[in-house]
Amino acid sequence: MGRFWSLLFLTVPIFGVGLFWWAPGAGYWLPKDISEHGHQIDHLWTFILILTGLVFVATEMLLFWFLWRYDATKNADPIKYTHGSHNLEVIWTILPAATLLFIAIYQMNAWADVKINNPGAKGLPTTVEVTGRQFEWRLRYPGKDGKLGTPDDIYHVNDLHIPVNEEILVSLKSSDVLHDFFLPNLRVKQDAVPGMAIPVWFKATETGEFDLVCAELCGWGHYKMKGQLTVQSKQDYEEWLETTFAAQEATK
């Protein structure tokens, strides 16, 4: 039976790699990236996937091989009576330590771009204020004067429009519980926290309609807290703002 069990452990690296090999072609992979910064994240994902994949295959294959080779019913050799190896310990401590440190440092620029280098600090005005509320996304555009909190603000719900190829600065808030502003196609995710206004910035490079997902449990209706992201040309966007403002004024 030792042979059988060894082979069972061999299926781990085979199926493990096989599934990741098969998935992208079968349509199971990261959703299409339409952001300017997203390729950095996707690149880091692939980088870590390959690196961990190699370690995964190497260790699981070793495990299989040792089980196969040293099966008590087949192995006539005496055991290797040893309590360890100082040299090996040093090697397999220093090598992974260096690799892990490298992986960590390698991430830092991408992280800084997305979460630290806030364009708002360099004077980019807020494009839209997004406020999570059970179970909808309330949107407020600054209107013609470019300032929030003035009479020409444009209010809207769940239907987020942004212009293409422009840096967007969102001010993210919540009026009740935690929510999470998740745009899968833009590789954007940020919790909306009651009591905080958190800046989120990104640039979309393609027009179209995409999902806005709430990714932090916010109550029984969490699953239906669905918004829509419409990326449109500058002109369409301006027109949409005007139509929406007009509709809002008409109901006053």
């Binding site: 030792g2 199926f15 599934l19 990741f20 990261l30 994240i41 880091l44 994902w45 870590i48 995964f56 495990l63 040792f66 089980l67 099966d71 008590a72 192995n75 055991i79 290797k80 009576y81 040893t82 309590h83 360890g84 190896s85 090996l88 310990e89 397999w92 992974p96 330590a97 892990l100 440190l101 992986i103 960590a104 991430q107 830092m108 992280w111 997305v114 979460k115 630290i116 059970q134 009026s175 009740d176 935690l178 899968p184 590789r187 954007v188 995710k189 940020q190 009591g195 905080m196 958190i198 999902d211 997902v213 990714a215 932090e216 449990l217 109550g219 029984w220 969490h222 699953y223 239906k224």
Partner: protein
């Protein structure tokens, strides 16, 4: 030692042991219910946690049902449980299901089965003590679980139902009563329940630390302790330092809910059309306090299993553990680093993004001691004579699965990648590889391994292997696939994710996962049958059925009160398999060395 042990009877070699007459001689209550014997308490923990394992598993299967076939009538039990909805799971019940699944599995199964069941049963036996240092405290640590059991069970029947804010209980959803049905009363019971679990754990950990430091048999110096004991010791230290923070946080949330103290609630909130009170607090404060405990708790939930797996692997590889001291140091390293990585749960929380960078570095580094452990396990089986027994198969699959769970952690530690996979099924896959493929498989291995010591009978090997095979296949079918869901961005905790265009195509894969999960659940019936049958009809075993070295195998199976018939004296470490000093392939810790061999000559560990 002047420990008073209820109902203790004298035995040879008893050392300075207080002899008290039993309160009720041979009474059923004092022997099996309010017992002070660490073995009985351990077995009480074992039975209780296994029963809760069933509950937690059924809750998980209900979650899986909804994700595969949302809003469809649940077969068999649907009409009974959800008659108001005509047999389908309601969205608010769905949030309760995953909240209670995680709460039950973490606080009622994994933590108490490792520390409570195995810690209690094994610590005195493996260090050669006749009981714990504080038997009464030990008994109380079990009975303090019962108010918690009661609170959690009762919470399903109060207005609004059980807690539904996730096992992480993030305010303001959890702290404001109007935020969710489960936050009306269920959350209060959840908090009270957890406070009791905390008290129980604290009593246990104080006891374990004292026992391990004070009550080791002559010759059992620290570096002759089995890895299980090292792991239990480090775990107890982790518990003792991390738990007070959680307890404080739990009380603060309780006060927020009942007295409107507003520790975690900012001013000016209106939740579900009800004012959340004066506020003045910080939502993120809870997350910091909670994870300051709950990240170390992840290690509380794996280190003891790592220890048990090390012992099992060395025994069935018939070879000394590779790198004993590096193993001890890496457990200690994990524990130390475990206190400075909690922020990696909060990369997307709105916490200072610079902190994200430092937590990323510390989190990456904690992968290092885990990697060292994996290499040493591989080193242990290299060049051995491997016996594929059921406990060994589970221990080996611990290693194989822990590799996956460890490596997938690197994705989430990388902050930019975490932006995409945070709160997706990628993390669900990760934690289940660590806690199910890792800990639960380690626990199964431990049960098959120590069952003969606990009950004096063997479990059936054939059915044990069938159980292993099916669990292994279905476990991987269930959880490995979830990595792919995570790559698709599939979020956690959604009752119906398929109305998003982005996730529509993932339903088929979810159906496959649910079928595997049902298979995995069914496979546990084999374990249950084997366990119960073997309790009564398993073949009787001698003291040392596996030819293992550590002290518990020198005691009778099951050990009587006071454990050992003679005072064990320890001559060496527990991993002397295949030693050239003796002819047999094992060399018990208590066996005196042959003539002319210096009993104090230490065998090189890791040099």
């Amino acid at each position: 030692m002047s420990t008073s042990v209820l109902g203790s009877h004298s035995h040879e070699g008893d050392h300075a042991h207080g002899h008290h007459q039993p309160l009720t001689v041979g009474g059923f209550l004092s022997k099996y219910v309010f017992s002070l014997d660490h073995k009985v308490i351990g077995i009480q923990f074992l039975f209780s946690t296994l029963l809760w394992f069933v509950v937690g598993g059924l809750l998980a299967l209900a979650v899986r049902w909804q994700l595969a076939w949302p809003w469809s009538d649940m077969p068999v039990v649907g009409r009974m449980l959800f008659s108001a909805e005509g047999g389908q799971i309601s969205p608010e019940f769905y949030t309760m299901l995953f909240t209670m699944h995680a709460s039950v599995m973490i606080f009622f199964v994994i933590i108490p089965i490792l520390a409570g069941a195995f810690g209690n049963f094994l610590i005195p036996l493996m260090i050669g003590a006749d009981d714990m240092a504080f038997p009464v405290l030990n008994m109380l640590s079990y009975w303090f679980m019962w108010p918690a059991f009661f609170c959690m069970t009762a919470s399903f029947f109060v207005t609004g139902g059980a807690a539904a804010a996730g096992w992480t209980a993030y305010p303001t959803l959890s702290a404001v009563q109007s935020a969710a049905p489960g936050s009306e009363n269920g959350q209060t019971l959840w908090l009270i329940g957890l406070i009791f679990v905390g008290i129980s754990s604290m009593m246990g950990s104080v006891n374990y630390m004292t026992t391990i430091i004070q009550m080791r048999a002559p010759g059992m110096n620290l570096f002759r302790m089995p890895m299980t004991i090292w792991a239990m010791f480090i775990t107890a230290v982790l518990q003792a330092f991390a738990l007070p923070v959680l307890t404080a946080a739990l009380f603060m949330q309780l006060l927020d809910r009942l007295l409107y103290t507003g520790f975690f609630i900012p001013e000016g909130l209106t939740v579900n059309n009800v004012s959340a009170g004066a506020g003045g607090g910080q939502v993120l404060l809870w997350q910091h306090l909670f994870w300051f405990y709950s990240h170390p708790a992840v290690y509380i939930m794996i280190l003891p299993a790592m220890g048990m797996v090390s012992d099992i692997i060395a025994c069935f590889a018939r070879k000394p553990l590779f790198g004993y001291k590096p193993m001890v140091y890496s457990i200690s390293g994990i524990a130390a680093l475990g206190f400075i990585v909690w922020g990696h749960h909060m990369f997307m929380s709105g916490m200072n993004p610079y902190l994200g960078m430092t937590f990323m570095v510390s989190t990456m580094m904690i992968a290092l001691p885990s990697a060292v452990k994996v290499f040493n396990w591989l080193g242990t089986i290299w060049g051995g004579k491997i016996q594929f027994t059921t406990p060994m198969l589970f221990a080996l699959s611990f290693v194989a699965m822990f590799i996956i769970g460890g490596l997938s952690g690197i994705f989430m530690a990388a902050t930019p990648v975490d932006i995409f996979i945070h709160d997706t099924y990628f993390i669900v896959a990760h934690i289940h590889y660590v806690l199910f493929g890792g800990t639960a498989f380690g626990v199964f291995g431990g049960i098959y391994f120590w069952f003969p010591k606990m009950f004096g009978r063997m479990m059936n090997e054939f059915w044990g292997k069938v159980h292993f095979f099916l669990s292994f296949i279905f476990f991987n079918g269930t959880f490995y696939t979830m990595h792919i869901l995570g790559a698709g961005g599939f979020p956690r905790r959604l009752a119906d994710p398929y109305h998003y265009e982005t996730f529509k195509h993932l339903q088929t894969m979810n159906q496959f996962i649910t079928i595997c999960a049902l298979g995995m659940g069914a496979a546990q019936l084999i374990f249950a049958a084997n366990f119960i049958y073997s309790l009564f009809f398993g073949p009787k075993c001698g003291r040392n059925p596996w030819h293992a070295n550590s002290l518990e195998w020198m005691a009778p199976s099951p050990p009587g009160h006071g454990n050992f018939d003679v005072q064990p004296i320890v001559y060496r470490g527990p991993y002397e398999y295949g030693s050239p000093e003796v002819d047999s392939d094992y060399y018990p810790q208590t066996q005196p060395p042959p003539e002319g061999v210096d009993p104090n000559a230490d065998h090189g560990h890791g040099h």
